[in-house]
């Protein structure tokens, strides 16, 4: 039961749900939530392969760097969301149509 394939199936479900959240939701913060789910799916894949296939700790290092990059991405993304709300008074994704101003 606890083998590589069960972890891969969980990771697949996380990835697909994150992708559907990114596509279907119209809120910018919800799109960021979908990105977090996708990053978690990839990090889980790295650690699962590191446990069952390669038997060293390089997957753990990759997973740690994925967590670091996700934190940086969340900080910058939420700053952009707050700035967008200051200008447009909404966080609907269809309102984001121009780069300047």
């Amino acid at each position: 039961m606890m083998n590589l394939y069960s972890y891969l199936i969980i990771s697949l479900i996380l990835f697909v749900v994150g992708l559907v959240v990114m596509i279907a939701r119209k809120n910018i913060v919800a799109i960021l939530l979908g990105i977090e789910l996708i990053l978690n799916a990839s990090a889980l894949n790295f650690v699962a392969y590191s446990r069952y296939v390669t038997n060293n700790l390089d997957g753990h290092i990759f997973s740690l760097f994925i967590i670091v990059i996700a934190a940086a991405e969340a900080a910058v993304g939420l700053a952009i969301v707050i700035r967008f709300f200051q200008i447009k008074e909404t966080i609907h994704i269809d309102e984001a149509t121009q780069l300047r101003n």
Partner: protein
């Protein structure tokens, strides 16, 4: 036995909370479901023997990223965000209602007590699994790898974090009133 129970509960928590993120309309409830899903992923890391990654997941994601998301949701809620907020009982004011606090306290107490009963029963039935550590600790090996093999990526990630923090502070600064 304990590992399989942890695996099943973590997998169910991860998948159900991820589907909850997808299905729930309210963005605040969506953030709370994301918190549950990230906790489940941390439990899956623990079943894979990645103790340092699991603790880092809980500290960075649950303690940092989800709180940041909740701050962003509250800061960008708009005017009618508070008035539309309702809890599961349909009460309008979800902040500072005596009934909601009482029900929350009761549910938390029942949850904690039943879980303590369950976990103590499991720990008493299989003491050997708890004492004989199945996975060796990975912290010292990860430390050695970070400063030997992956030192370039480590330094670049520090520069990336500095740039991201400065950039976020510059982007989100208040607008000049002119």
């Amino acid at each position: 036995m304990f590992l399989q129970l942890l695996f099943i509960s973590s997998a169910l928590l991860t998948v159900l909370c991820a589907i909850g993120v997808l299905m729930v309309k309210n963005i605040m409830h969506s953030c709370v479901f994301l918190l549950g899903s990230l906790l489940g992923v941390a439990g899956l890391y623990a079943t894979l023997g990645a103790d340092f990654v699991a603790v880092t997941q809980i500290m960075v994601y649950v303690g940092g990223v989800v709180i940041l998301m909740l701050f962003a949701v509250m800061l960008t809620g708009g005017k009618d965000f508070i008035s539309r907020a309702q809890n599961l009982l349909g009460l309008p004011a979800s902040m500072g209602n005596k009934l909601t606090y009482g029900v929350g306290l009761l549910v938390g107490l029942v949850f904690v007590l039943t879980n303590i009963k369950l976990l103590m029963g499991i720990a008493q039935t299989i003491p050997s699994k708890m004492i004989n550590n199945e996975f060796p600790s990975t912290v010292s090996q990860i430390g050695h790898l970070l400063v030997k093999d992956h030192v370039l990526a480590f330094e670049i990630s520090s520069v990336l974090l500095l740039g991201a923090l400065v950039g976020a502070a510059i982007i989100a600064r208040p607008r000049k009133q002119n």
